[in-house]
Each structure stands twice: as C-alpha cells, then as structure tokens.
C-alpha cells in the first residue's frame, strides 16, 4: 500500500482501512434493520402489532411521567425509534451517509445503554423488546448482558462515526468523499 497523504497530512490508509470497515458497518446496519423490522412489522400481515408491545416496553421503563402528553410521546417514540433504526440500518448497509449514520447510531445506542443500566440498577424485571421476539445473545429480562451488547454495538457505531464507512460503499461510488476511510470527521468535511 503506497503511503500517499490525504488532505489532512496523514497517510492515506483509504483502501486498506476501507476493507476493514466493511464488515462492522454492514453488520451494524443489519442489526439495526432487524431491530427496526421486528419492532414495526414482524407478523404485522397477520394482524399483530409489534409497535404496541414496544410502546408498553418504553412506558414500563418508567423514565417519563405517566399519562397525558407523555403517553403520546411514548406512542410516537414506539414508531419513530424503529423507523430511525430502519433508516440507519439501510444507510449503513448501503454505505450512504455512513458517518452521519454512525454518529446517530452511537447516540441512540448510548441512550439505550443508559436506559438499560437504569433498569438493571433499579432492579426492574422488564423485557427488552429490542428485537421483538428474538432474544439473542441475551434472553430474559434486561440484564448486564443487554448492557454489554448495546455497549459493544455503540463502539462499532463510534468506529464508523470516527473513521467513516470506507470506500467499499455506495456513497463512495456516487462521489461522496465525506464518509470515506482515513478522514477525520467534522474538520475534513466540506
């Protein structure tokens, strides 16, 4: 690999680093797609309403005051959060707007992690509903396993936010250079 230099003066690690970023980017994107799909559409054609379960899970977290506008916010979040996961997953799998998707995924996963820690610390016995009926690799009520899983996913999202989605990506093919590997984030963007 030639040691060409990028515009920031650092060695251009572009293609080599890009090949390393493909797997975590697509894996994280797939996980988010699965999470969003299971929360919104799993068995929906059979009359089921997974969002109802997720809304009650959010309410059970007991992080918002009960009743009135808070319930409306809970219901809205039960739809907006899975749709966010679907959009972020799609962006990451395709490699479009990867850095933005990485930042937002990291923020969301950080929030999920904090909420899970809060649930465990309060001794509550709640199901996660993170992937609908799928319980992997953690099963049962929210536990430190769920916290660790979310933290691990958050680190992957942070990696993509930091390094970009790489060049093996649709965005790169379309001429978007702001999310490529080897760039340093906000300062490098036009």
């Amino acid at each position: 690999m030639s040691a060409r230099h990028g515009c920031g003066g650092e060695p251009d690690r572009g293609w080599g680093e890009s090949s390393l970023l493909v797997l975590p980017r697509i894996a994280l994107g797939g996980v988010l797609l699965l999470a969003g799909w299971m929360k919104l559409f799993h068995n929906a054609w059979n009359g089921a309403d997974p969002a109802w379960d997720f809304a009650n899970t959010i309410k059970a977290y007991d992080i918002l005051p009960a009743g009135g506008n808070a319930d409306a916010l809970v219901v809205f979040a039960a739809y907006a959060v899975p749709w966010s996961e679907l959009l972020l997953g799609l962006a990451l799998v395709l490699g479009v707007w990867s850095r933005a998707a990485g930042w937002l995924s990291a923020v969301m996963l950080a929030a999920f992690t904090i909420i899970n820690i809060s649930v465990v610390a309060r001794g509550m016995d709640l199901t996660c509903s993170c992937f609908g009926e799928i319980e992997w690799p953690c099963s049962g009520g929210i536990s430190w396993c769920h916290v660790g899983r979310n933290a691990a996913l958050m680190l992957v999202a942070g990696l993509i936010a930091w390094r970009g989605g790489g060049r093996v990506a649709l965005g790169w093919l379309l001429g978007d250079r702001s999310s490529g590997a080897g760039r340093q984030g906000w300062a490098d963007e036009e």
């Binding site: 919104l40 068995n43 059979n46 009359g47 089921a48 309403d49 997974p50 969002a51 109802w52 379960d53 809304a55 009650n56 309410k59 059970a60 007991d62 009960a66 319930d71 809970v74 219901v75 809205f76 979040a77 039960a78 739809y79 907006a80 959060v81 899975p82 749709w83 966010s84 679907l86 959009l87 972020l88 962006a91 707007w97 850095r99 933005a100 998707a101 930042w103 937002l104 509550m124 016995d125 709640l126 199901t127 009926e133 009520g141 702001s178 984030g185 906000w186 963007e189 036009e190």
Partner: protein, 214 residues
C-alpha cells in the same frame, strides 16, 4: 456541517415516517395503566377487588376414574399446593388477580378456560392441557378472536406465561380488553408453565390448532 445536516435529515425523516405510520393505524394504542411490579409488602385490598386471603389448606379431591374417553385429566391441587410457594396476590396494574398453582389447579378441574400467552414454539413444546394459544400479537387476528369468542365470560379465565414477572400474560390481557372482551374475572397464574409441569399437573404438546381449543 455536512454530517450534522445529514443527522438532522435522518431524524426528520424517521419522525415523519413514524408519525405517518402512527396515523395509518386503524386502532388507537392503549397503554397499560401501570406496569410496575407490586412489592409483596405493598399489596393492600383494592376497591372492587376481593380481599386478599391467606391460602387455605386444600381438601384432597376425589380421584377421577379414567373412563377411557376424551375427558381431560384431573389436576391434583394438593400436588400444586406442595409445589406452589408463592402467595396469591392481586395485580394492581391490570385489575386482575394473581393466583397460585393450587388455585389454578382447582379452576382447571372446574373447567375454566386457560390462555397460554407464550410464544408459539413454547406452546407447541408443552402447555396446560386444553389451554389455547393467545400471545398478545394474536388477539387482534381473526383466528385469535375466533378463539376468544369461545370463552365463557361468566366463568373465570386463567392466563399464564413463563412465570415470575413475565409480561406476556399482562400484555395479552391488556389487548383482550382493548379488543372489547369485558371479562369480569381474569386471573394470572403467577407460577409459570414450568411450575405447572413440575407439579405433575396435566399437560399436552403439539402445534397450535391441535386440540388447543378451550
């Protein structure tokens, strides 16, 4: 700035899609009133709820002769009483009463409907004899409501899941009520299916639809 603008665009798009999806729903989402587990020492008698009684020793029931037909097997509440160490307590959150294994076995012998709120796989692997499958996701389906129409509202209905603090029973009950089934006496069997099985009470296996009607 590009990344920030894109983040805001994703958030905005997700919000619009979520709001649009919500508006296309045909029914309103009814959230449960209070999902917090009730500590045992905080349980008090509630308006409209029967007073909490200490479990009474169960009278041994007469053994049921096996007529060789399709009659369901009888449950032995004494066996359930030995296995059941949990105290029956009212569930304040959903206005239903939580019961122990012994009371569930007695109701089983009286022929009340048992509803299994667990997953399809768990149901197929083993269930209370004669229970029918009704996870929350199935309540609003045509098949689910056909099953619910079989339930006699004048009798108690027992709902169970995996036991402990599993939410599935409460999820199913909340949705049954949202669907308009105003059953006056719904009870949650707080010990789960595994406790029922361990107590040697009647069970059956098989896929939903194979003898899972009440």
């Amino acid at each position: 700035m590009t990344t920030l603008i894109r983040i805001l665009a994703i958030v905005g798009a997700a919000s619009l899609l979520g709001a649009g999806h919500l508006l296309t729903r045909s029914t309103a989402i009814v959230l449960r009133v209070d999902m917090q587990p009730v500590p045992a020492d905080a349980v008090t008698d509630l308006p409209g709820e029967p007073a909490l009684a200490q479990p009474e020793p169960l009278e041994p029931i007469e053994p049921v002769e096996d007529a060789g037909g399709d009659d369901p097997p009888a449950a032995d509440p004494t066996a359930a009483g030995e296995a059941n160490t949990e105290r029956a307590a009212p569930a304040r959150s959903t206005g239903v009463r939580k019961i122990g294994l012994a009371e569930a076995a007695t109701l089983f012998n009286e022929g009340v409907a048992f509803i299994d709120a667990r997953t399809e796989r768990e149901f197929a692997e083993g269930r209370i004899y004669g229970a029918f499958w009704m996870p929350a996701q199935r309540v609003f389906t045509e098949a689910g409501q056909n099953d619910l129409d079989f339930v006699d509202p004048s009798l108690p209905v027992v709902v169970y899941c995996t036991g402990g603090e599993c939410d599935a029973s409460e999820n199913t009950i909340a949705r049954i009520r949202a669907a308009g089934y105003d059953w006056p006496d719904i009870r949650i069997m707080q010990p789960g299916y595994d406790d029922w099985l361990a107590a040697g009470l009647p069970v059956e296996t098989g896929s939903p639809g194979e003898g899972d009607q009440p």
